[in-house]
Symmetry: C2
Subunit: 247 residues, 2 copies
């Protein structure tokens, strides 16, 4: 542990790349928040809000196809686009489908589901997005464990939107005296969020994935994913699937 944290205090760190997860996962008494703002974790939250029962994240398109062959609703995205042979990718709007209510969905995406895969060793994995940010923060306060904010990034590289969300979580948690152990990664993202919070979309105007989505005419997805706190739910990874826990 590099930051000095007293026994009753919790450490908050940001892991900016799934490839670094083993570096940060040194204390198992933690909750891992998986973050892929554009758009996997925003889509997952939206799916649950619209009644989906379980989401099975898988790493490869082939796995998703196997589930599809068994009759599951299957979603696959690569490079921002729906994979051929699938009807849905990771646009949140595609999960607002009354036909999905009570159903299980299998999902594979370029970065988000891979981040979940990398975090699997952890006992507590949840899904965060701007849409459910306050619910995520309340969950973290209730659990009273160390926090690893795991940014899915883009192909293991740093990206801005996931970092900004991580900073937004730090910004909220730091008001609670139990979360005193802010690592340098957390301090940096908090500063960025402080700069960006008035207008997240404007702050992201020169960033790579935001512009990749804009070129794909996905401006509505971008605006949707940047709304803060529109739903009160926390997807939790249990067994091999994401579910909403009843507490």
């Amino acid at each position: 542990m590099e930051t000095i944290v007293k026994e009753h205090e919790r450490k908050v760190e940001i892991c900016y790349s799934p490839a670094l997860f083993p570096v940060y996962y040194t204390n198992k008494d933690c909750v891992v928040v998986v973050i892929d703002i554009f758009r996997a974790t925003s889509a997952i939250c939206t799916a649950f809000q619209h009644g989906v029962k379980r989401i099975i994240p898988v790493s490869s398109v082939d796995e998703a196809k196997e589930y599809q062959a068994q009759g599951y609703i299957a979603a696959a995205e690569r490079h921002g686009e729906i994979v051929e042979g699938f009807d849905i990718g990771n646009s949140p709007f595609s999960y607002m489908n009354p036909a999905f209510k009570g159903k299980e969905v299998v999902l594979t995406t370029t970065n988000g589901t891979k981040a979940i895969e990398r975090a699997k060793a952890a006992d507590h994995i949840i899904v965060g997005s701007f849409l459910n940010i306050d619910a995520v923060c309340r969950y973290l306060e209730r659990k009273n464990k160390n926090v690893i904010l795991l940014c899915a990034g883009w192909r293991d590289r740093y990206n801005m939107e996931d970092s900004l969300f991580a900073g937004a979580v730090v910004h909220r948690l730091k008001k609670n005296p139990i979360f005193k152990g802010l690592a340098d990664s957390s301090l940096a993202a908090d500063h960025l969020y402080e700069l960006a919070k008035g207008n997240l979309n404007d702050f992201l105007k020169n960033t790579s994935h935001r512009n990749r989505l804009a070129r794909l005419n996905l401006e509505e997805d971008i605006s949707y994913c940047l709304q803060e706190n529109t739903m009160d739910l926390v997807p939790v990874y249990k067994g091999n699937a994401l579910v909403i826990e009843n507490e």
Copy 2:
């Protein structure tokens, strides 16, 4: 390449952890700037300014001991302190020694020399610190290649001081139209440097390694390492050693 860069434009990316170097080193036409502000790369620059001829970075204390046994001046630091059996660690002040003039020094440090080791696959590796920042930027402009700013961090984790230096380099390079390809990592660090540049030491007051050094009574080292542009030299990695190139 994730950021869209036109043919005559160069990409500037920051790799926040040596463990991620293979992720960023996808285009070999690049210069890698190794950064370990507290204190390895600041010490290396200082050594050259005071007449050291070559610095051989090694990864392990055992390797440093072998060189020491052969009569080399050897320096070793772990966890911020001089390793037992060595006279010098990575305090820049210890390299201001007239007896080192014209000599070769072998150096191993917790993070900095390991970052150089990780970058070895690259053709062009240089050493950056606030002390030689303008010389580093001029070198990068002259070489006209893509740039990877490799932060040594702390045990493969993100750290603030290396990120701020990387941001300071981006801040200067972005004024040159050839460096148009700023990755998200670069945009983020540029924002941080913009916030910090009036008073770097104050900005670092809650960061972990700055405080680790302060607990070791190394405030003078901290202030020394945060001075911008006090020397006009660029250490370059050639063969197995760092040298100053005559151009």
